[in-house]
């Protein structure tokens, strides 16, 4: 029997208290001189002895109750699992953790790793069970859980390398779960890996402790000298020459070996080799390689920089995409007879934008056609009644498929707006608030966590309090939902609402000098830019992604806009994602399937249902650059960390607290001891009451 809190056993010394009291009580008996004991001696002495015995019984009961209480607090438990694990006989539960990260592609590591895995399960008998866990960034069971050894061997043969990075934590945690669930007496975990330092340094070691009694055997495939060169970074610098945009590609090549290395770097664009150059890189250093500027292709094009293949080919190429500058197309709609400069500030502010650039068109409402909506990311209805009919329908369709609308009601009578537009409003538009007599109102409450205002969150990054709002419409929001900013009288200044995949934003004041002086404040330009980026769902295009990374399509409008624009909300959001190996996934721009894990190195292709193969948007995926770092970890360090509890406990140190606590919690012996103590105390009470009755 073991105790979870053995320090409490020190309280057993308290048992001596009643004993000492008993002894002291005996020693301190009063001495009474009595004329003669003649009569007392005639009383049968057995009664006195029985009395003594009963007192001894009481003493024993009290001591027992105390001992039971102390034992309960010490939280005893029987360490069954350890006893079972300590045996060297019986069936085995073997979990083979096979590293299939990109670094395992170095030289013949993968072949040796699979051989080691096969060897690990080859000695198993029919009563033994084994599980193959393939791990890289994540871990998954590749064979049936707790399968027979021959099936595991088959799964090892079918295992393939991945392009992902290395993380030992998830694999060990999964192994811990499997061994914990097993009822076989012997539990073994075989870890086959190249033991990259990078895979262990970030792990929380406390979370990857294997159950007590589990034997962890490392099989080191790595180690030794690992010369390697890798393309670790690619930059694309855009420039304009005449009316054509150009891009200059640069690559950073790293030599991880000790010896100087001479490599040939080749730039490929659209599948064709464009340029190549040679570079000599000293040992353990990196060098930047630049290629000559090339014209930016019309569409998103695949590109890659590769170097002379070496032992680890996966990091010898770095894929990327070159796409034309994705400007945000903005349409500002103003009344048929606008005020002077009604859209001037807005359009000029947007025109200044560079990253991204905004393509701004200003049109009057009466000249608006459905074709004006094509390719638009954002439409600003600047104090106009939203269009009805075909134009209105087209605009609403654009919103539902990912576009955005900024509604500025101005002094419009909203009740006269088409019903379908009124239903889209994020709030009810009320009366006009005129605060020109009191020097105007200010923005008092701004949600700096909102993408529109997060730019201004840092100190001295913009002051909205200097802007004065002399007039604005009273927006009656339903609770706080969607309210992004409020005036100092508590009424919302800006409210946002999601409609389908797009957004509708309601602005209570105007964007010119008519009702406020916001357009004259320094914050106006970044505010308008942020508003257009957010509502127009713009995201900075990424030239490539890392294997194992999760791609959130809802945040990358530049990837999906081409295929979702102009389609209905029901069908257009369903897209096809072809992986480099030819696997096909159904994804959506938003909704349930907008998250997809990019596991393979190479080019994924995202396309609409009707888009032919090869015409879709390429998405470049590269291996984790950290995989190029082949720094070797001492396997025993990992073993020691993962089995700390067992090792320390064998040394007599109470360490495997979690497992021991589980056992103690499961057995709940303290509960029975406490119950026993209560029973003993009840018996003690009954006996002492009976004794006191007898003596009186």
């Amino acid at each position: 029997m073991n105790f979870l809190a053995p320090a409490f056993l020190a309280a057993l010394a308290a048992i001596s208290v009643p004993v000492i009291i008993h002894l002291i009580h005996r020693e301190r008996k009063t001495v009474v001189e009595f004329p003669s004991l003649m009569f007392l001696q005639k009383i049968p002495s057995r009664s006195v002895r029985r009395q003594k015995l009963r007192h001894l019984l009481l003493l024993a009961l009290r001591c027992l109750a105390l001992a039971l209480l102390v034992s309960a607090f010490a939280r005893p438990f029987f360490e069954r699992q350890r006893a079972a694990a300590g045996g060297l006989t019986g069936a085995r539960e073997v979990v083979v953790l096979l590293d299939r990260s990109a670094s395992m592609g170095y030289s013949d590591r993968w072949t040796r790793a699979r051989d080691a895995a096969k060897k690990a399960v080859s000695g198993l008998t029919a009563t033994d069970r084994a599980t193959l866990v393939l791990f890289a960034t994540d871990a998954s069971v590749a064979s049936e859980p707790m399968a027979t050894p021959d099936r595991v061997a088959a799964a090892i043969g079918a295992a393939k390398l991945s392009s992902e990075g290395t993380r030992y934590g998830p694999a060990l945690k999964l192994a811990s779960q499997i061994t914990s669930a097993s009822n076989l007496p012997r539990k073994e975990v075989v870890l086959i890996s190249d033991f990259q330092t990078i895979g262990w340094s970030g792990s929380k070691h406390d979370e990857v402790v294997l159950p007590s009694g589990t034997k962890l055997t490392p099989v080191d495939i790595g180690g030794g000298s690992t010369p390697d060169a890798a393309v670790s970074q690619v930059t694309t610098e855009r420039s304009a020459t005449g009316d054509r945009d150009q891009v200059t590609v640069g690559a950073r090549i790293t030599n991880l070996g000790a010896a100087q290395r001479k490599v040939r770097a080749t730039l490929e664009v659209g599948g064709r080799s464009v340029q190549s150059t040679e570079a000599t890189i000293p040992g353990r250093s990196a060098q930047q390689v630049s290629f000559l500027p090339i014209a930016i292709p019309s569409g998103a094009t695949r590109g890659s920089v590769s170097i002379t293949p070496d032992s680890l080919t996966e990091d010898d190429v770095l894929n990327f995409t070159i796409a034309p500058d994705a400007s945000v197309s903005v349409l500002v709609v103003e009344p048929s007879s606008p005020r002077a400069n009604q859209s001037l500030y807005l359009s000029r502010a947007l025109a200044i934008g560079d990253r991204p650039s905004f393509r701004v068109d200003v049109k009057r409402i009466d000249a608006l056609t459905p074709a004006d909506m094509d390719g638009r990311a954002l439409v600003v209805l600047n104090e106009v009644t939203p269009p009805s009919g075909a134009v209105g329908a087209r605009l609403r369709s654009m919103v539902s498929t990912g576009g955005g609308v900024v509604l500025i009601p101005g002094d419009q009578t909203v009740e006269r707006w088409p019903t379908e537009w009124r239903q889209l409003l994020p709030a009810q538009v009320g009366d006009l608030v005129d605060r020109s007599g009191e020097a105007g109102g200010t923005l008092s409450s701004v949600d700096y966590a909102h993408p529109v205002f997060e730019l201004f969150n840092a100190p001295r990054s913009g002051d909205f309090s200097t802007a004065r709002f002399y007039r604005y419409r009273r927006l009656l929001a339903r609770g706080d939902t969607g309210v992004v900013a409020r005036f100092d009288d508590g009424f919302p200044a800006m409210i946002e609402r999601s409609v389908g995949s797009g957004k509708v934003v309601l602005w209570a004041s105007t964007m010119d000098s008519h009702w406020s002086n916001l357009n004259l404040q320094p914050v106006f330009l970044p505010f308008v830019h942020q508003l257009a980026r957010h509502v127009g769902r713009y995201a900075d295009p990424r030239p490539w992604f890392t294997a194992g990374e999760v791609l959130d399509l809802s945040r990358h409008g530049e990837l999906t806009t081409k295929f979702t624009q102009g389609r209905g909300a029901d069908s257009a959001s369903e897209l096809i994602l072809d992986s480099p190996s030819g696997n096909r996934d159904r994804v959506t721009a938003t909704g349930a399937a907008h998250l997809v894990t990019l596991r393979e190195q190479g080019f994924y292709e995202l396309r609409g249902p009707d888009t032919p193969v090869g015409s879709g948007r390429p998405i470049a995926v590269n291996i984790d650059p950290a995989e190029s770092d082949l720094s070797h970890l001492d396997p025993q360090e990992l073993v020691a960390a993962a089995t700390t509890a067992s090792v320390q406990r064998d040394a007599g140190i109470d360490a495997n607290a979690a497992t021991r606590e589980e056992q103690e919690r499961r057995q709940k012996l303290w509960w029975y001891l406490l119950l026993g103590a209560l029973l003993v105390l009840a018996v003690e009470t009954a006996v002492s009451n009976r004794l006191s009755r007898v003596t009186t």
Binding site: V32, L37, L40, T696
Partner: protein, 324 residues
């Protein structure tokens, strides 16, 4: 004969004197005088008892008889020797036998002004002897503790010696009680000293035995029979402390036998009932057996007034006279 009030009536008319109050007097003679005169005043009559010298009868001369008691006038008439017999002795011998064994020292307590059994018994002996001396009896004293300790032969002039002996005995016992705890020794018995005492008794006496009688009733009766067998009238005062009767102890403790020094762990609560039964049986047995032997037995606890003892003595004297 002198008319005498009945003891019962006198007891009702007398204000009892608390022994604890009497203890403050400190002078045995004054104490005895206080008690006895208070007692006599309560009788309203002169207590000249047993002073009769009336002729009772004649009997034939037996060889060895005192020739001074031959009725010579009757010899002259009848030419035969007759002895003159009288109704009673004018003066009788009154002896007090006082047990001064260690067990008699029990009961002294300065906190609640309680007397030890021995002190109480000394007062009692002083009162009895003083009272008897008023009647011109010859008074004597014997203190015993397994053997004769002190002996004052009967005499009409020995009151002062007796009071002095009693005072010395009381002081000696008090000093022994406070100075040293009980040590191991043999249990004192009544038989040896009483047998020795009986050998000194040449004349019929009234013998008052004052003791706590921690002996088997048979042994007590055997011891008393030596005196009783010599024609003495016996009055037994069984003196006990109230705590010996009630056994009111509560704390568990080691009880030490004051006679032998023997120790015994005792849980009073558990033994009280049986102890009371045993002590009551003991006193009842003594009373019954002594009644059968025509020995007057009285049980006294030390809280009872001393003049109650005088009533007992007086009642006994009356009975002896009637019987005779």
């Amino acid at each position: 004969m002198t008319a005498v009030a009945t003891p019962a009536r006198a007891q009702q008319q007398t204000s009892f004197l608390d022994p604890a109050v009497l203890a403050r007097i400190g002078n045995l003679e004054l104490l005895a005088k206080t008690v006895v005169e208070g007692f006599i005043n309560g009788l309203h009559r002169s207590p000249h008892l047993g002073a009769s010298t009336d002729f009772a009868e004649h009997r034939s001369y037996m060889p060895g008889d005192d020739i001074r008691r031959i009725d010579w006038r009757l010899y002259a008439r009848s030419d035969r020797y007759f002895m003159k017999e009288y109704e009673a002795e004018t003066n009788t011998n009154f002896r007090v036998v006082l047990d001064v064994s260690p067990s008699m020292r029990y009961g002294a307590s300065s906190q609640d002004n309680r007397l030890s059994k021995l002190t109480y018994s000394c007062y009692l002996a002083a009162c009895l002897t003083y009272f008897s001396s008023l009647q011109r009896d010859r008074i004597g004293l014997a203190t015993i503790d397994g053997d004769l300790v002190d002996y004052v032969p009967p005499s009409a002039k020995h009151l002062q010696q007796i009071l002095h002996a009693l005072d010395r005995t009381d002081r000696k016992a008090t000093a022994a009680t406070t100075a040293a705890p009980a040590t191991s020794r043999a249990k004192s018995q009544l038989l040896p000293p009483l047998r020795k005492l009986s050998e000194t008794v040449r004349r019929r006496s009234i013998v008052a035995v004052i003791s706590d009688f921690y002996e088997d009733p048979n042994d007590v009766l055997d011891a008393l029979s030596y005196l009783r067998g010599r024609g003495n009238d016996m009055i037994v005062f069984h003196v006990l402390d109230p705590r010996e009767l009630e056994f009111p102890f509560t704390d568990t403790g080691n009880f030490i036998d004051m006679e032998t020094g023997e120790r015994m762990p005792v849980i009073p609560e558990y033994l009280r009932k049986q102890y009371r039964e045993l002590i009551n049986d003991h006193t009842a047995t003594l009373a019954k057996r002594m009644g059968e032997q025509r020995i007057d037995y009285s049980l006294f606890d030390t809280s009872k007034p001393l003049d109650k003892a005088l009533f007992t003595y007086l009642g006994a004297r009356q009975r002896f006279n009637r019987v005779r």
